[in-house]
């Protein structure tokens, strides 16, 4: 008897309703908060966490003439399928920590590279609005170095303090420590939200920065200085709660688009 593969199962039961898929780590409170907010607005949301993905017994990712698809059977019996996804809030910056904790032995580095390469590809195959699409340098968007953000932000027209780097400085000290910025604007598609009234004249520059960074969801931090507010960093996986209810409104509208 021919074996029953995930692809054949999914093809035979393609769901009419297409919920928004929220991909996140189990401890991502901002993702859970956004998912709740979307549900309150009547959006059907399907949350798949890192532990779900790490324990998935079956995965099929296909690329070819028919395009690219993903079918994942989760241990709970649920199924993640590119055929039944209406849009994605992607909050995975790296491989699920639950999977990373399970992997060991001499081939660990190879397995991590292989699995990362697979995640970049299957995430890219998800249909609908994707906040954010994966990049080889980060599963929810390119996790850029501060020097690259400084150059992009300056070219986008944001006020940026001069970034300096020399061959005398330990490069590991140049990555910023996670902190809560005094002010944050969040770009969601073409919308800019955030409780930073004195910065709203920078909305267009923020949109340009998100476009240049090839992402649809971007948190842009600002800090006050002697010459006024300046760009202090950007994140492709921002704290969504900083955008408040307007951010959920924007997400709901963009995901429905």
């Amino acid at each position: 008897m021919a074996s029953l593969t995930l692809a054949s199962l999914a093809a035979s039961s393609a769901a009419a309703a297409k919920p928004i898929l929220v991909l996140c780590e189990d401890f991502d409170h901002a993702a859970a908060w956004a998912a709740q907010g979307l549900r309150r607005r009547g959006v059907e949301v399907d949350i798949v966490c890192g532990t779900d993905l790490a324990a998935a017994p079956q995965l099929e990712h296909r690329v070819g003439r028919a395009g690219a698809t993903i079918e994942i059977a989760l241990a709970s019996g649920r199924r993640l399928s590119s055929r039944t996804v209406g849009g994605v809030l992607n909050r995975l910056s790296f491989l699920p920590s639950a999977w990373m904790q399970r992997i060991g032995g001499p081939d660990r580095d190879y397995a991590v590279q292989e699995m990362y390469a697979l995640y970049v590809s299957w995430l890219n195959s998800l249909p609908g609005p994707l906040f954010n699409p994966p990049a080889p340098q980060g599963l929810c968007g390119n996790w850029r170095h501060p020097s690259a953000w400084a150059a992009l932000a300056g070219r986008a027209g944001l006020p940026v303090a001069c970034y300096r780097q020399t061959s005398d400085v330990d490069p590991t000290t140049l990555w910023p420590m996670p902190t809560t910025a005094p002010a944050t604007l969040l770009v969601v598609g073409e919308r800019v939200v955030g409780q930073a009234a004195g910065l709203r004249h920078l909305d267009d520059a923020c949109r340009r920065l998100a476009r240049a960074a090839n992402v649809r969801l971007l948190g842009i931090d600002f800090a006050p200085g002697a010459q006024g507010w300046r760009f202090a960093g950007a994140s492709v996986m921002p704290d969504l709660t900083r955008g408040g209810e307007p951010l959920v409104d924007a997400l709901a509208q963009e995901l429905a688009a």
């Binding site: 079956q58 995965l59 990712h61 970049v120 690259a148 940026v160 300096r164 061959s167 330990d170």
Partner: protein
């Protein structure tokens, strides 16, 4: 001025240096083995990039540098640092210099062959395949799975299969044999990439900006890169690519944000063109040495801004 970054004796770098000598064009070698004698300072201010580079007592403004060709090896493996502890001043300086160099080249207003970011797509073959398809080139039918039954169904659908790494880790392409099927359950531990085997002629296409050099490889092995090791042979000769495919290769290279690429094609007996991979840092010297195709000269002219 042009920078050549890497180990001067490495074939591709040496061939480009010789081609620049022949042009002639002004260049300097950033010889990784002499990193102890180098310093670099970069300032990014309002979108502009400035700074200074000191090489062997000469100091240059970064704005003087119009182009760079990067063939860097892992600085941690430099022979000059062998025996040095992890935190030694020499290792710390080498790491800091290389990091600053790459950060600068990533944003420098110069012809950089190639920047790091656009090279990233090569780290995931199926991801890159999705990008390749956007430029009108076919890719082999591919299945990545941890399910042995799915592999068997895929094999029934497509016949002979090959398997290879998903990531940029180099692996020898292997045909899926009866012996492999006997251990297929092992894929439950880590998904594996399987592809329908595409018959035909292997063609490597080197694209330099809008210039194309195609090389046909006639080999009796599945992976011609390892023909000698596996007791087989590989014969290389210049190949005339049709205009449409050449244009697609140029568009694909540009679309990936690359100035130079090595594109692996297979042309079937029916004339269908499949694209397997885009190598963003191709060791073109192997192809030039075997065919005489002037790839280094094309690269040198591009770096020098000569049309």
């Amino acid at each position: 001025m042009i920078l050549l970054c890497g180990i001067p004796s490495e074939s591709p770098l040496a061939m480009v240096a010789a081609a620049l000598d022949e042009l002639p064009a002004d260049y300097r070698m950033v010889n990784q083995r002499k990193v102890a004698d180098y310093d670099l300072a970069v300032a990014i201010d309002g979108g502009t990039v400035e700074g200074t580079l000191r090489l062997n007592g000469e100091t240059f403004r970064l704005g003087e540098i119009d182009a760079a060709y990067i063939r860097l090896m892992d600085d941690r493996l430099l022979p000059e640092l062998a025996g040095q502890g992890d935190g030694s001043p020499a290792r710390r300086h080498a790491r800091a210099f290389h990091d600053t160099l790459l950060r600068w080249l990533e944003v420098a207003p110069a012809r950089v062959v190639n920047r790091c970011d656009p090279q990233g797509s090569n780290g995931s073959k199926p991801y890159q395949a999705q990008l390749i398809m956007q430029f009108g080139l076919r890719v082999p039918e591919t299945l990545i799975t941890n399910d042995p039954d799915a592999v068997l169904a895929f094999q029934r659908e497509h016949g002979t299969l090959i398997y290879k790494s998903i990531s940029g880790v180099r692996s020898i392409v292997q045909a899926l044999t009866e012996n492999d099927l006997a251990r297929l359950d092992l894929i439950r531990w880590c998904p594996v990439q399987f592809q329908a085997r595409v018959p035909g002629t292997d063609v490597r296409v080197h694209v330099v900006d809008d210039e194309v050099h195609a090389t046909e490889i006639v080999s009796d092995t599945l992976d011609y890169r390892y023909a000698r090791q596996s007791g087989g042979s590989a014969e290389l000769r210049a190949f005339e690519l049709d205009d449409d495919t050449a244009e697609r290769c140029i568009a694909l290279t540009r679309g990936l944000g690359l100035l130079f690429a090595g594109i692996d094609l297979k042309i079937t007996p029916e004339g269908e063109v499949f694209c397997f991979e885009v190598n963003p840092c191709p060791a073109f010297s192997f192809y030039e040495a075997n065919t005489g195709q002037p790839i280094a000269r094309a690269l040198a002219r591009h770096l020098a801004g000569v049309n």
